[in-house]
Symmetry: C2
């Protein structure tokens, strides 16, 4: 039996607990949705005020140089690089995850088309966050070269599909719904043994798990900054390219920010010989600048320790739901084995949507994903062990009181 006292003790012993103070969280709320929209770093308000009043208002156009707005994509990219096992100069922050997928997919397909022109299959996952599939479909429909998207189901599906003429594989490092966490190194090996290339979608893993993109031999990676990295709503996304692929081809979203000499106003495109060739047009400076507030907190913590605490907290959540709520029919869909678990825990329940709404009314904010999935994001920098205890107690009371039966709920319409 785990007790509240045990949780309080773990909180006392927690090396990361001081970081909670860096975040502004509403009173009386247990926020289990940082895997959808990360909490607000306190510093973000003062930073935004400075950018708006001083950099925009006072320094105006001069801020492109003076505040190095122009350098933000790589300056922030270099910071994120440290969290994902990438080198300096290998990462940019830019645009959105979806757009960044289009860029790296185009590059990956071009590389493969030269070596293996007969390979026309792009693998994606049935259970991927759908925008990945949609952008592959958009790409295929645009270039009209006979490419096909093949949707697979899990690791076994991948093995079977790789027997065919596969050019590129797009995988979610951590699945947005189930929390399933791929073993990057062994999957890369499997894909490379068939001479396919891999694009990792890190949306639900960057800032949530430790990884090493270079050491694992990955090819491309994209991911968002507004979930675990706490960059702010819709903050621009990250993009990493293995150095060996980087300068091989243009990516087709070849705007002037990716030009070799953007200020020469040359009449023809020539891509920068650096990761900047994966940029496109002018970036939303205010939204982009705020990313630094969240990422800087991570750089003061330690990704390994964050991962350790994440596993302790998700273990605790799973054990407590088992201990306190076993009679209510929650079916765990997140892997028990640490090796395959990201940093959120999901359950299937017939009345998942209604239960999530009832929990939110109690100040426990998780979210719902079709079909029937209750999703609880565990963010070690601003959640403690007692928070998990309290969250599960709320869940128990919600079920005991059948609160979810009595509510009238909003039309479904939330955002990943």
């Amino acid at each position: 039996m785990i007790t509240r006292e045990q949780c309080l003790y773990w909180d006392q012993e927690d090396e990361l607990k001081k970081f909670k103070d860096e975040f502004a969280l509403p009173e009386g709320v247990i926020y289990l949705d940082g895997n959808s929209l990360g909490a607000r770093p306190k510093k973000s308000l003062a930073v935004a005020q400075h950018i708006i009043s001083q950099e925009w208002g006072e320094d105006l156009i001069n801020s492109w140089n003076k505040a190095d707005w122009w350098g933000l994509p790589t300056r922030l990219g270099d910071k994120v690089a440290k969290l994902i096992g990438a080198e300096q100069g290998e990462v940019v922050i830019s645009d959105s995850t979806t757009l960044n997928l289009f860029k790296v997919l185009s590059a990956a397909v071009k590389i493969q088309a030269e070596k293996f022109p007969e390979r026309k299959i792009i693998i994606a996952e049935k259970d991927a966050f759908p925008t990945d599939i949609y952008i592959i479909e958009g790409f295929i429909d645009l270039i009209q070269k006979g490419y096909q998207v093949e949707l697979i189901d899990g690791v076994e599906g991948l093995a079977r599909a790789l027997e065919k003429d596969v050019a590129v594989v797009v995988l979610s490092h951590v699945n947005y719904r189930t929390g399933y966490f791929y073993d990057m190194s062994s999957i890369n090996e499997q894909i490379h043994s068939k001479e396919a290339l891999v694009i990792w979608d890190l949306c639900h893993s960057v800032g949530a798990v430790s990884m090493d993109l270079n050491q694992s031999g990955s090819d491309f990676a994209i991911g968002c900054t507004y979930k675990y990295l706490n960059g702010g709503p819709g903050s621009p996304a990250m993009l990493w390219v293995n150095e060996k692929h980087r300068d091989q081809f243009w990516q087709p979203l070849s705007g002037w920010w990716s030009h070799k000499k953007p200020f020469d106003m040359a009449q023809h495109y020539e891509p920068a010989n650096s990761i900047r060739r994966y940029l496109c047009g002018t970036q939303p400076i205010i939204s982009m600048s705020l990313i630094e507030c969240g990422v800087d907190i991570f750089l003061h913590a330690d990704m390994q320790k964050i991962r350790e605490k994440s596993l302790k907290l998700t273990d605790l959540f799973i054990q407590l739901v088992q201990q306190e709520c076993s009679e209510f029919g929650f079916e765990l869909i997140t892997p028990l084995e640490h090796k395959y678990r990201g940093s959120h825990v999901s359950y299937r329940h017939e009345f998942g949507y209604e239960i999530i709404q009832a929990l939110i009314a109690r100040g426990v904010i998780g979210d719902y994903r079709e079909p029937g999935v209750l999703r609880f994001g565990i963010t070690p920098l601003y959640l403690g062990f007692e928070d998990i205890w309290n969250a599960v107690q709320h869940l128990k009371e919600t079920m005991l009181n059948s609160e979810w039966k009595n509510k009238r709920y909003l039309v479904r319409g939330e955002v990943t």
Copy 2:
């Protein structure tokens, strides 16, 4: 002879002068670069504080519905529509101008490919802001269907080029360098008489000149919000599609925000039957929200009156440079005829770069564009007639004192 007193009188009589108070401008600065980065609406600071503290910090994920973050692209699009002669539901705000050009170019090329498969020429302007050319080149290089970009020079060049197999024409409504302003209706007629389609880049015209996209029979338009519309550095861009083209094809940057039923998490893409099909992925909410501050000021003014004052101010600037600075060798490259003049005035001068730097040192902020172009943006909502008088006096003194000869200047590197 125009006198300072005359300018002061015009300021007194100016119906729009009250709007200057809506903007935060630095003390002692005459800002003639609002065509590059618009000045800061005072309201933007409080709005940002609210979004960051309340919507992000307190309401968290709930803000997607409660603050209607999800609806921002169309809500803001509907406001911008009123400034460009578009209907409600015809405009979205999203991504960057460059990315939006890729979207509408793909759509335009697809429409034409069905009707006129032999047409493989995409016309752009030699003197366009280069990102337009670069993205066309990226598109052509990606789809590999034999398309070619043909760069034209001015209206005569357009007429000649239209004799060939032209699919699509991309034109800057107001040229970023010279300030040349196309007559949209007659150009549309000319292009349509050859059954080509037109994409208007409104970057230097939206908020600067009056226009009517529907009445003039335009096909597509894109443009940025951080220049005349004062949306903030790199704020997301606008996109308009003529209703007759809108639902004909997917655009290939088909992210989940453009899906018919984005929250169903469907496994295949189906585009929304609305202008939302031109969205892609998650938008930078803070940068996007601030656009409203600038656009709302325009909605309280009147685009026709703004245009009238713009012409008075640019006339005054040109006359005063002629009157006060005729001996210094400035060559006007902006059209004298109102019909062909946007809202900035440009001169060529051998030492253009150095003169601009010397002016900036005096607090008169214009900008420099290769080759040898001094560019002065005239923004009627926060500039008055005396400002123009003073700016030209500074220019005169800079030249009389040869101040530009004595300066050590920064490496060139500013942003459009």
